[in-house]
Amino acid sequence: MLQLNGVSKDFGGLRALSDVTLNVRGGQIKGLIGPNGAGKTTLFNLITGVFPPSRGSIRFLGKETTNLEPEKVARLGVSRTFQQPHLFKSLTVWENVMLGRHYRTRGEFIACGFRFPKAIKEEKDIQEQSLEYLNLFGLADKKDQIASKLPLGEQRYLEVARALATEPKLLLLDEPTSGLNDHETEQFRDLLFKIRGTGVTLLVIEHHMRFIMGLCEEIAVLNFGTKIAEGSPQEIQVSPEVITAYLGTEENID
C-alpha cells in the first residue's frame, strides 16, 4: 500500500532521515518506534507531503507521491494526527470533525452561497456523519465546546475522529497515547482494532512499548534517521540493535 524507497531528508546540514526503506501492507497495523529525534515525525511529514524528501521515492497505492502537495496526498486517502494536537481553535469540537469531511464533499462558493438544495443536503449529511464520529469517541455531548478547551486525552480522540472523518485508507497516528492513562490506553487499543476492522490501514508512532507490542503485527525501528530493525514484536524485543539503541551499550554507559 505504502512504499518508501531509500528515502532521505536533510535539513540544511542536518540529516534527519537517511536511506529509509519501509513497506506498509494494506490492512496492517504497523508500528514505528525509536528514541526521540530518530526521525519518526519527519517520516510522517514526508508521507503526507508537508515537505518532499531530499532523495528516494514514496509510492501510495501504486501512485508516485514523492513530490505531491499535502492536499493532493490527503485526497488520495492519507490522514494523520499530530504529536501535539493541532485542532482548530476557532472551530468547535463538532466543526473540527466536519472539517474532516471537507474534501469528501463538493459544494463550493456558488452552491453554498445560494444554498442550493444539494448544498443544504450535503451540509446536513456532513453534520450527521460528523456526529457519528463524535459518538464513536464519546465526544457528542461536548460538540459545541471550543476544541482547544478539551482535556488532552479528549483532544487526541478528537484528532483521530477528525482524521477518520476523511475516510482515509491509511491513517498515521503520531504518539496517540501520550498523555493518556492506562485505562484510556486500553480503550484506545480496542478502538484502533475496531478502526482496522473497517478496512483502514494504520501506521502508528509510539513510545508506549507495552501498547505498541500488543497492537502491531509488525514494527520498524528508527535510530538517528536510519532503520535499524523491522519485524514482529517478538523479533524486535530481542534484536540486539534495538536494545542497544534504547538502553545503550555498556561502553556507552561508562
Binding site: E71, A74, F109, E123
Partner: protein, 328 residues
Amino acid sequence: MGTLLKDRNKLAWLLATVVLLLLPFAFGKGFYLNTMNFIALHAMVAVGLCLLVGYGGQLSISHSAFFAIGAYASAIFCLRYHLPPFTSILLSQGLSALLAWGIGWVVLRLKGHYLAIATLSFTIIVEVLVKEMAWLTGGLQGLSSIPSISIGGWVIDSDYRFYFVAWPITMLLLLFSLNLVDSRMGRIFKAIKENEDIARQFGADVKAYKIKLFIVSSVYASIAGSLYAHFITFISPVTGSIMFAIDIIMVLAFGGFTLLWGAMIGVVSLTFLNEYLTIFADFKRAIYGLALVIIILFFPNGLLLGLRDFGNRIFLFITEGRKKHASA
C-alpha cells in the same frame, strides 16, 4: 448553538430587509434616499472586502479599482458597443471576474504587507489607465450620458426607483456572504486563516480557494461600480480613486474586520458621520486618518468588535467580582 446562531442571523437579515424596503414608505421620497442609495453601493463593496479580510485573511486595496472597472466596463459596453444596460452590467461582472482571476493568480502568492502593496499598485495602474486611455474611457472628462437601467419599461432614473434596485441587491449579496460563511467553505476558510499547513493536510486547495474568494470579493465591488455608473450616468477617474479604497477599509476598521454585519453597520455610521464632518472640509481626511490609526492601535479587530469584547470583559469583571465578594 450552531443552528440557533444561524437562525438568528437569518432572522436579523429578514428583519433588516423588511425595514429597509419599507423605509421609503415611512419617510417619503426625501433627499435621504440619495444617501441611502450610496450606503447600499458602499455596503456591497464593504461586505465583499469583509469576506476577503475576515475569512481569507487578506487585506486588498484593489476594491476601488474593481469598482472603477465595473463602472467603466459597463459604461463602455453601453456607450461604445450599444449594448443594453442590463447586458452590459452582466458582461462587466464577467470581465471583472476574469481580471480578478488573473490578478489573484499573480498576487495571492504574497502575504500581509506585500499583498497590500501589490493590490495597491494594481489600483494605481487602473487609475492611470483610466486617465490615459482617453479614446476608450474619456480620460479626465470621463464618460457621460450613460443610459439608466430599465426593467420592463421602468427606467431607473430617480433616487426612489434606484433604492428598490440597489437595496435588494445589497441584501442578497449580504445573504450570499452569510450563507457562504456558514457552510463548508466558511469552515475551511477559518481553518486556513488559523493554520494553512494543517488545513492543506485535510485536503484544502488553499491556492485555488483564495483566488476564488478574491474573485467573489472583487465582483462585489464591481457590481456596485456598474450600478453606480448607470445610476449617476456620469463617471470620471475620481469614481474609483484610491481614497475610496481607504474609505472602505475605514468602514471595516469601524465595524469589525471579521464581522459581515459590522461592515453594514460601519457603512451606515460612517456615511452619516461623513455628512456631519463636512463642516471640517478638507480636514475630514486628517480626522479619518487619525481615527484609523487610533482604532488599529487599540482595537485591531475593528472598533465595534473591540468595544464588544471590552464590554464583555467589564461584564465578566463585575460578575466575577460579585461572585468573589459573595464567596468571601
